[in-house]
Symmetry: C2
Subunit: 439 residues, 2 copies
Amino acid sequence: MIAYRSLRVALLGGGSVGAQVARSLLEDRDELAHRVGASLDLIGIAVRDVDAKRSVDLPRELLTTDAERLILGADVVIELMGGIEPARTYILQALNSGADVVTGNKALLATHGPELFAAAEQVGAQLYYEAAVGGAIPIIRPLRESLAGDRVKRILGIVNGTTNYILDRMDTQGDSLEDALATAQELGLAEANPSADVDGYDAAQKAAILASLAFHTEVSVDDVHREGITAVTAAQIASAAHSGHVVKLLAICERLIDPDSGVEGVSVRVYPAMVPRSHPLAAVHGANNAVFVEAEAAGALMFYGAGAGGVETSSAVLGDLVSLARRHVVGGPGLTESKHAGLPVLEIGKATTRYAVTLDVIDEPGVLATIAGVFAEHGVSVETVEQSVATATPGGESTAILVIGTHGAREAALAATVADLAANRVVARVASVLRVEGA
Amino acid sequence: MIAYRSLRVALLGGGSVGAQVARSLLEDRDELAHRVGASLDLIGIAVRDVDAKRSVDLPRELLTTDAERLILGADVVIELMGGIEPARTYILQALNSGADVVTGNKALLATHGPELFAAAEQVGAQLYYEAAVGGAIPIIRPLRESLAGDRVKRILGIVNGTTNYILDRMDTQGDSLEDALATAQELGLAEANPSADVDGYDAAQKAAILASLAFHTEVSVDDVHREGITAVTAAQIASAAHSGHVVKLLAICERLIDPDSGVEGVSVRVYPAMVPRSHPLAAVHGANNAVFVEAEAAGALMFYGAGAGGVETSSAVLGDLVSLARRHVVGGPGLTESKHAGLPVLEIGKATTRYAVTLDVIDEPGVLATIAGVFAEHGVSVETVEQSVATATPGGESTAILVIGTHGAREAALAATVADLAANRVVARVASVLRVEGA
């Protein structure tokens, strides 16, 4: 097969992913031309500073600070700048000029996705974004196409490598959160300001993207209930391990029936949860990512791999580019984003989850009955109770530790239960409340 | 979005997958129409016997024995009959009449793939086959599109659920091969004649399909080195477990340099091998499948899920149908199969693998030196030696068990080593030779 035409590719962003993409386009030119049936000509790389130091040497003559001019001459624009602006404006310019776009910009998609998809649809241009979730892991295309004839019931995703690294170290090395975070920062896995990762913002953006795709429904990052890992303690990790669980920061996208109205909706939430050790997600170590999908017909599927890294993520970008370029070559428009279902997004209070509640209680007769009574009052059904041996506090009071596992309960009922427990005379302290998923 | 036209879908085969596909097309008609932008009209189901008993009730008026006539009126033909003929003839008829085709027929693709892809390319029709490998697991599309800009180095696949179930039972329950097979047969996981599974034919077909896609090279099932699991013993499983390994039937597709000619080629082989317990594939239990892919940029990826089952596999078929129908709706031809690389397929003697060799040896001084000498003679480097305590045979001779782990060695060198070991006076028996992969 001989390349019979060429496609002009503009790259926006010369960071770790962008530089790798540029390198592959230049070094693997012939091989890519064979795969596409056309040559992919990198016509320029828009950067903020052409003199900045980069991990990969880029040809000086390709660098430019004039992104808008570069976009005007392109058939395909690859946006790897990140952030909302000017990325949003550039992508809209590209689409409106008829160019196809590949992006890995999760923040932008999770906030302005509908606007971008509408712009693409209007002119019949393509917008691909495999790199936005799970780095190198193919998850967008499987959801968008492979499962297009199935119905996704639930997604449990480990979609943030930094927090998985931290929680994995706490589990396997017994580190405190602070020590594990410091190690992650030393290794370059966490930023100096780690908030985007540890507070769950990054995972929430990815959850919004996954839920939108899986449920054919527009879900914005603002619809996502978000809790980070900063409150996770070494004691919680140890207690989870003791009961055969591991704590993971999960992005959960679930199709469910609103228990109040009976209407079908979706629940999208990010929080640390206990996962049984036997679950495939429990074996996802280090900074790896994995997305566990439960579909009506397909059953349980899992997609696993490197969730970040410039080289790894460049694989997803190039896969999008080649797929898109092939369609460009053979003509005809491609996929449009499906949002026909338009399901309501339910607040977290509508979701039903199992919980593990750890209490320091006064060690006296009748305590268990009192505690059980509080749960029963709020309609929260208790599945397991584990009581440790009593210990004496410095104040001379004798206390015991109770770990109570519940059946599925609603957020609101559990919150009310915990509030009442905290106020109860026999409870010295609510030591931990953690959800249990994947069981 | 409103369906603005319709696509006529013909189904060939009313078995467990076919019946599920038919049911979904009928029951989920509206939802599928929304996703595609056109209605999918099931115009008929070609079966051998319209009166046969089926797992799913199919409308009698859709059943026909006249497949050829059905094909003539179809926009899309779904072939789920299995076997070579008449499936091959029907698919060629469909493609030549301009219809797109979805198939799950691994046997046909692994033997006549190039003929079918050429026929599709000639008329600009599409041939999709996600269901042919890994049941519900999206693996064909990720290889074909997501990794289209990357370079696959190696695939290690658990692609046969029956043998994985048997080996998993032997590992976790201590069953013999015979008992595990009998249980699989009772559960309907293995056929009365289990040869296609236990002799590795099914896995070899899937290996050929994966290798063709991953390496852009035509690989036929005849190119695949194939060993089944019938020679795997409970003792081998126990010995593997002892050294932290689990035995899996692997489909291995590898890009490598011919050590003799220096030319790049591919090696495709199926055999039972020891996998370290820490490897993600070791955690694939029961009848599940998983495909572990190592790519140059993406690094290690794994795709996991149900490898068989009518309902599960119907998800892959419907995903293909919807993807294909969407392209049908928006116009323009789609993907053609890429075989531009055309790498030579190397015989197994060219591949380098690590081995674990278990020997019953005479217990006398100097035996280890003798054994080590035999390995050295053939240039096979020994990595580990483990010697068990000596035991006396009924004949009064004292023997010991030696387990020798090698570094990477070529098949031919190892075979010569084993032949010499078997003929050596100090070796009572070569108890086991197993390859080690994924380490």
